[in-house]
């Protein structure tokens, strides 16, 4: 019985190895003006920045992937997984790549179901993904992400972060000069983030903002049907305008120095109100809580 179990394990292990028998290990020379573009349908992708002027691609791919193609041009290097023609179904098309890129090059990634992790890239990052999750941990320039169902996690700094999703969630824990997120049903979670300008629009998702650090910031956060939970540090100098057409607004009046109430809007102020926040909902709930600093 024990031997049978060992044999089965070896057998399945062999199947697994044969299904991933295609390996890739290639180094490409690059210059800083070349964008590194990667197009992968399924699997996983790890992009890591290094100090060399080379792109090192290593990994393996499943049997229905015809090849990994490299297309080098003066301003672009394309790394693409080509799928075999006339497939009955799109199974065994996964690619598992680890790509080392110069940190000074722009990165452009197109994924379908593949997951992606980007670390240490200092220039512009652009990712489109249907349903693969995206993790970025970099001090990059501009980041632009478009996804349908993929979840996005951002750490580190970026000048402009622009995220668009249909159902994908956003977890932002990094500093941005400008943060723009547009989603239909994705949840947005901003934690411990320093921002100058925020522009968020959501139709149905939940928005939670906790421990946001303001710096004479301007923020517009609109959630048509979903809720907004806004936790602000107690010491923050801020003025908040709240517009609720048919929704609910929950605030503790004692937390603020000034409160003006109009028919369907509030204006509340703490300190001199250096940062300005505009919150709006149609039928959702807006709750503002002042956080006591526990540091």
């Amino acid at each position: 019985m024990k031997n049978l179990l060992i044999l089965s394990l070896i057998f399945f292990g062999m199947i697994k190895i044969f299904s991933l028998e295609n390996k890739i290990d290639k180094i490409l020379e690059t210059t800083s003006n070349q964008t590194i573009s990667v197009k992968v349908m399924d699997g996983s992708l790890k992009i890591k920045a290094w100090d060399k002027n080379e792109v090192w691609i290593k990994g393996n791919f499943e049997k229905n992937v015809d090849k990994i193609r490299f297309d080098e041009q003066s301003n672009n290097i394309l790394i693409k997984s080509d799928i075999k023609n006339n497939l009955k179904n799109r199974k065994n098309i996964r690619v598992f790549l680890e790509i080392f890129v110069p940190k000074e090059n722009d990165i452009n990634i197109d994924l379908i179901n593949a997951e992606c992790e980007i670390t240490g890239v200092e220039k512009n990052i652009s990712v489109t993904s249907t349903s693969g999750n995206i993790k970025i941990n970099s001090n990059s320039k501009d980041v632009d992400i478009v996804t349908i169902n993929g979840n996005v996690e951002l750490k580190g700094n970026s000048n402009i972060f622009q995220g668009t999703s249909i159902n994908g969630n956003f977890l932002i824990n990094g500093d941005c000069n400008i943060l723009k997120i547009k989603t239909s049903s994705g949840n947005i979670n901003l934690t411990e983030t320093l921002v100058k300008n925020i522009n968020i629009f959501s139709t149905n998702g939940e928005i939670k903002i906790k421990g946001l650090k303001f710096d004479k910031s301007n923020c517009e956060i609109i959630n048509i049907r979903g809720n907004i939970l806004f936790l602000i540090p107690q010491e923050e100098s801020i003025q908040i305008m709240i517009k609720s057409i048919s929704g609910k607004v929950k605030i503790n009046k004692n937390d603020f120095d000034e409160i003006y109430k109009e028919e369907k809007s509030f204006k509340i102020k703490k300190g001199s109100g250096e940062s300005v926040v505009f919150l709006e909902t149609m039928i959702g709930e807006i709750e503002i809580i002042t956080q006591i600093n526990t540091d």
Partner: protein, 185 residues
């Protein structure tokens, strides 16, 4: 002014007021010296001397013209801005903006429906369901605001919200369709 001039002026002041000079050196100066203002005379004088005015006082004329133009444009701009801030004008502008954006929304929507059909093989069932569900949710949201607007037709805030929703959702759909059409073998 010397001493003899001063004496002459003093002598002239002592003369009775009914005595007038028989011939003016400047035609009709007596009329101009009287305090009575005559619009008819002024207009007549203006037209009689129009040519001189243009030729001799052309700089004054040019600057006056520029001044009039600046003031007119200023007033025009002021009234235009004031009109834009009026709720009625704002409402009309928002309505116009809305009409334009509704067409774009419909276009983006149709594009995605076509892409789902054409490129179905690239997307999982879950992805397709997610897109379709969210498109229905977008439509439902728009419908809800439209109903609220129907009940309160002069509510500018609602109209602005509807325009904003259309605008943002159209952008979202266009970006999604660009992502979807990007896929091939």
């Amino acid at each position: 002014m010397n001493e003899s001039d001063k004496k002459l002026i003093e002598m002239y002041k002592t003369l009775p007021k009914k005595i007038k000079p028989p011939k003016d050196l400047w035609d009709q100066i007596d009329k101009r010296l009287t305090n009575k203002f005559s619009l008819k005379d002024s207009i007549a004088y203006f037209f009689n001397n129009f040519k001189d005015l243009i030729l001799t006082k052309k700089y004054v004329f040019a600057y006056s013209l520029i001044g009039i133009c600046v003031i007119s444009f200023g007033l025009l701009f002021f009234f235009n801005v004031s009109n834009q801030n009026k709720p009625d004008t704002q409402y009309a502008l928002a309505e116009k903006e809305l009409q334009d954006i509704v067409l774009d929304y419909e276009k983006a929507r149709s594009k995605i429906i076509k892409l789902i059909k054409d490129k179905k093989e690239f997307f999982s069932d879950e992805t397709i369901v997610s897109i379709q569900t969210n498109m229905s949710l977008m439509d439902e949201t728009i419908k809800e605001i439209k109903i609220a607007l129907k009940n309160d037709p002069n509510n500018y805030e609602l109209l602005a919200s509807l325009t904003k929703v259309y605008f943002e959702e159209t952008n979202l759909l266009f970006k999604t369709s660009n992502l979807m059409k990007n896929y091939d073998n």
